[in-house]
Symmetry: C3
Subunit: 435 residues, 3 copies
Amino acid sequence: MSSALQDRLFAEIDAISLIDPHTHINPHAPAASNLAEILGYHYYTELAHSAGMPREAIEEPHLSPRQKAVRLVQYLEPLENTIQYSWLIELAQRLIGWPHERLTPANWETLYDACEACMQQPDWAEQVLARSKLEAVFLTNDFDDPLEGFDTRRYVPCLRTDDLVFHLARPGVRERLVRASGEEVHTSEGLRRAIGRLFERFCSRGARACAISLPPDFSPERVEPQAADRALQLVCRHGGEPAARDADVQTACQVLARFVFWTLAEYCTEFRLPFDLMIGVNRGVYAGGVYQGQDLYDSRVSLIQYRQLFNAFPRVTFPISVLASVTNQELASYAWIFPNVVAHGHWWYSNTPSLIERDAAHRLEAVPQTKLIAYYSDMYKLEFALPKFAMYKRVLARILAERFVIERGWSEERALLLARRILRDNVERIFYAES
Amino acid sequence: MSSALQDRLFAEIDAISLIDPHTHINPHAPAASNLAEILGYHYYTELAHSAGMPREAIEEPHLSPRQKAVRLVQYLEPLENTIQYSWLIELAQRLIGWPHERLTPANWETLYDACEACMQQPDWAEQVLARSKLEAVFLTNDFDDPLEGFDTRRYVPCLRTDDLVFHLARPGVRERLVRASGEEVHTSEGLRRAIGRLFERFCSRGARACAISLPPDFSPERVEPQAADRALQLVCRHGGEPAARDADVQTACQVLARFVFWTLAEYCTEFRLPFDLMIGVNRGVYAGGVYQGQDLYDSRVSLIQYRQLFNAFPRVTFPISVLASVTNQELASYAWIFPNVVAHGHWWYSNTPSLIERDAAHRLEAVPQTKLIAYYSDMYKLEFALPKFAMYKRVLARILAERFVIERGWSEERALLLARRILRDNVERIFYAES
Amino acid sequence: MSSALQDRLFAEIDAISLIDPHTHINPHAPAASNLAEILGYHYYTELAHSAGMPREAIEEPHLSPRQKAVRLVQYLEPLENTIQYSWLIELAQRLIGWPHERLTPANWETLYDACEACMQQPDWAEQVLARSKLEAVFLTNDFDDPLEGFDTRRYVPCLRTDDLVFHLARPGVRERLVRASGEEVHTSEGLRRAIGRLFERFCSRGARACAISLPPDFSPERVEPQAADRALQLVCRHGGEPAARDADVQTACQVLARFVFWTLAEYCTEFRLPFDLMIGVNRGVYAGGVYQGQDLYDSRVSLIQYRQLFNAFPRVTFPISVLASVTNQELASYAWIFPNVVAHGHWWYSNTPSLIERDAAHRLEAVPQTKLIAYYSDMYKLEFALPKFAMYKRVLARILAERFVIERGWSEERALLLARRILRDNVERIFYAES
């Protein structure tokens, strides 16, 4: 598989400067400060737990970073085959200069110390960005994030709206909304005004997207304000998230979710903001799992559920991520037909080489090249952009080598222009359209 | 990937004379008469629209072919990565002799003129058939098509039944049926007789298949004549397609759809006609789309929905196409178990190389070779058979090279016999069984 | 694809001694006694029937083995492309020493006679085990199997529970349960005790797993004993399997199925027995099919249906097989998150090379290596382990060559350790944990 052609293409692709269009970076602490923060990425904690590590081993209070690291390292051996483990080793080798192929109880301290030496440098985050060829990274900001104290051109705000759509039944969420917006939210009209205030603030701070993750059974629909008012009253009276037996409150929550979601789409039109939809996750499926390691999915989801939405908002661009690879063909087909649907990255459980290869190959043969956003890292710490993008770029180099240069007789230059388009140009065109 | 072995196999496969078992050719104008008719294929109009071309740009009335062509050409650049674009270029190069790799606002007129020169030749359609190695193409005829004025051995009639099954609520459809059959259709018995008349006429004109496309939620069942009578009365009284609020009329339409579908299967037994089922399309999902560019699908469909049908009609052969690649494994499994289920081609949204490779590879390893119909073009103009079949044949050559010659140690001759069987012999055996 | 690297890896993988963790071997007649028993494997009878052989041709009473064999051979030609046919030829060549590539009406008798000569040897089963490098094979035992008269270390008992969960409405099943357990089963408590007796007996005879196959719509839940009591009474009163119109009895059967299933999981905790779940089969879909050739599936199934189960039984290991390849990503993801979920083999309709390659490649990149059980043969006669495992090992060798040695730069030794782990070590660790 690996070949001179593929290696040449990879080298050129690897030189492209990137904007990472979806991450969970904290702009006030973008890089890791020690190995424990690297190993604390949920991929390692959840895989280690799945392979036998008790949750308590790492979630015990007052663990020092060194203690947490050594405990995790003890459980890494079963993960050595996974692609996630390969990110860790590539990161250690290429960013830290650590020379080994395995992280073991015998050698972990050398990596711990090497990390510490690197990460204590005051410009470490900038070094990581430079070596990763990242010019900017998009954030995932709570709706009441003050968005202050960082360079919003480097760390680009995005309005994350899961809480607004799915957790308005929690009094704490409504209080945060009142505080962030300065509006009362007892009525659908107040709610609408409050959401408008959020858009104003985010856009004034350079926000480039509104974003949300959605469960597989969600199906957006327009809701009449009167129905939203009734639902809001019922939910407020109930005073908390409803239990299974509170069927009427649950229904009210669903009405409210649809109302808020639709309202977000309306504001995306008004503020010319793309609306990132990340479709398919069920939260908290494994209640005993580690932090951030409890979510799974039901792959029986269809974009037909979004039919009304796509038709109702022709001026909103919807960059769409799907959690299960089986949804990829629908994503490609909907992006091929709907002008406002764009295929976005390779998300979470589908972010592994064999699935990326399948999914990206199909997108590249069936969707206009202007409607593909190749990849985002989804990272919590800057160090992970390098190995995750490298994984993607290797797959892309192979697809271009085999399916375009060899099979279709394209020149390498032409293939590289396509790579540049989907990795870089489209991010600019889609998210930086002048508003 | 490309290799001497694969190239040798392709060359031999490419020499096989074909019968195209499903197209939308108009036998009175089988070939294109200008470039606008080539570019007007829905793949180009819908992809160009999806990439930014307003629908009005090409659907404005009174556009000359040249105007339509130039407008489309302006929007083709974003499509250059797609496989559909490669069909266009291969067609231009191999049928028209046009030498370029891209169709642009700078060179489009040379192709327009070259097309015109070719297509004005009185024997152009015959030339295209000969160069495409096509001996016959199956049509998709409305039930009231007079089927006259063309050579039905070359252009083979097939009875398309979507209108009968799904649109009998439209008074115009019922009137067409009365006119075409000479029977009244106020009762289920009249309806049955009318459909019988259609089969008689089609079979007397050499029809080789009954065909229908089906939405993902359709599930055929036998309906009692009394229930069909009641449904028919309700639908006729209502006088048009029911709105969402007319729940009882909608139910009646569903009963009627099942009754007519089941009746078609009964006549297929009687007239020994294969019943092509094209499973999975939702019509009109994107109402704002270009002509023929509005349909999509819900990939959550199962052949278990056809369980009663396959059991009830052991003497009818069902060549089955599935719209979503995820249904391919079920198609292979059902063809492996049910004697009357045959896997048919690679349809529409699944008709791209990466999906064909996956789907065909699995069919070839799991379904008896007598039960595979390799490919059909689905074309509206003869020019598209050549590049579409070429795409399929390249994939087939790779599968045979890698999975049969190399992995299983087959001789090239043996692999080519398999190719010939599924590309040609099975079309004859399945559709030309003496009735 | 085939390469020196891949061949080297295959040779090493092929030398690993195996324990086959799921078969349908009859320990009293583990090997075939003639060619008819080989050709009688449902893969050949159902594919031959699907390709045109009348069921009666082989299910007619009083056929001699020779008659049955010749009849089947007449219908094998259409199957020559299938991977199942390649098992037959590889078996004939490698175990019987038969030199041909095709089994035809002209040469079948030479194979029949050669089989007879081999199979009459008293140590034939031991020879087959040795040449197949099989140390032990797991059985599929009815709950009332006496488990006597064979070496349970060689032929390892497993408690198959489909009848208990899904067919307790049949008086014959309840009678067998009473007889096998010595307990009355008029109440949920009696039922629970009876099932406990089965576990005691099976575990005292060295059982290593409890196993069940499940339809796609099954969704386990805890049932209150009172509800189970009411359901049991209704079912006993009804006295047989309910028809479609007996809605209340059908509901009672579902309650009972859930109660028994949950009870089995409780005993698996108590007896420390892994619970093999084989998810996704619909029985009897094609009623006119040959023996064992009537089952199919609905690929619309999700492991989210097992959410309660996986959370409720953290101490039970669930080796899970899925019938449709589309479920493979969920299986990998659930095994990645849930400590008690293990990916198990490549089952039935997904047991073909192109699907194994896709499914195994994803498992190997995303699931800890300790949580993968590579393969089982599912065979009814020992002769089939060799070609079926060989098919799997060839695919595994290719995945390791391409995705680990070449792409990730692994040494061959490291790749082979991974192979050994999933093919052998995990079977021991998961099923032979000291109880």
